[in-house]
Subunit: 200 residues, 2 copies
């Protein structure tokens, strides 16, 4: 990638450029920052990554990344076991937790059904979800999946299977509408139409 | 930063967000990518960083980051010792090497003089440069410093000192002008004026 830096530094840059959001140029900047801030950045980040590589696993119940199994949420008796929030990835779980509006449990699918990308039901963490639903005690499944074709296909698929397995479980979806602070001018037509239909 | 992820993952995200170009959101995406691609990304990148932390030092001659001291450029007898290209940081050295137009040696200052940021001559790798110039054998000093106030102040300061120490050394500057592929419409007035004055 960058001749003159030596094979070790070039390897570092090549691997950094594989991180999402970093291209070759920003990977070079990141490598330089790491090498110049050895004590404040390179060494602590290396230690944190090593720690993560050794200790972070997936919770066997909900699939969330965690250093504990079961994870803190699944192990917390104060969290409502009657509500399960279904998310695509850990990033959505983290977003929900930052908001702090949800006090139930989670289920991380690890992806979305996609005919285009060849993602089938067995590629997702779906059997675990069906087991949790069939085991009883679940009253509501909150679908916090993206408002995309894949997200909605996955939500429909889950809703269909849950209706067969445990028809008493209520399935809800995050509301669609105008984001807080959102100006109509900047929103796509689909969102505006949805927000108008769901007006209260 | 992100509650719900556990202290280890949060520490990883906090440190990743200190990399240039990564904010809190992209640091979360990067952390998730690392944790999901453990074998392909997290483990090799950790190893590359550990390797860099242990082995990369600064060349005692030119100051470039390298696993060897003297660095490959300073140790290469095929590189012209009569030309020294003065750069602010290793990233500029890497850029010059990618281009491949320069076959001399380098000197990495490690910064630029700045009254605003309190960077004084003794904070830069300047005494080493003056030693190299005074030792004789240097015919040309190519100033490859940024076209900013700090870059030009630093270039003037170096030129003044070199004139006193070794008046036989020629000091040159990278040409200013229209970038290759650059449309006049998009360029600032200063660059256009400079390019007009330096027309050939």
């Amino acid at each position: 990638m960058a001749s003159g830096a030596g094979p070790e530094i070039e390897r570092l840059m090549a691997l950094l450029s594989k991180l999402p959001g970093l291209g070759p140029r920003s990977a070079r900047r990141a490598a330089l920052a790491l090498l110049k801030k050895r004590e404040q950045l390179l060494i602590p980040l290396t230690a944190a990554m090593q720690d993560a590589a050794e200790r972070v696993t997936s919770c066997h119940i909900c699939g969330a990344l965690s250093t504990r199994d079961p994870c803190a949420t699944c192990a917390d008796p104060a969290r409502d076991a009657a509500m399960i929030c279904v998310v695509e990835e850990d990033s959505a779980l983290w977003a929900m937790e930052r908001v702090g509006a949800f006090s139930g449990r989670y289920h991380v699918l690890g992806g979305l059904l996609s005919a285009l990308d060849g993602v089938r039901p067995e590629d997702l963490r779906l059997s675990g979800l069906m087991q949790r639903v069939s085991a009883g005690g679940v009253e509501e499944l909150v679908m916090a999946l993206p408002a995309t074709v894949e997200g909605q296909t996955t939500a429909h698929y889950i809703a269909d299977r849950v209706k067969q397995l445990a028809p008493e479980v209520t399935i809800t979806h995050l509301a669609r509408g105008v984001p807080v602070g959102g100006e109509l001018d900047w929103l796509d037509d689909g969102t505006i139409a949805h927000a108008f239909k769901s007006r209260r």
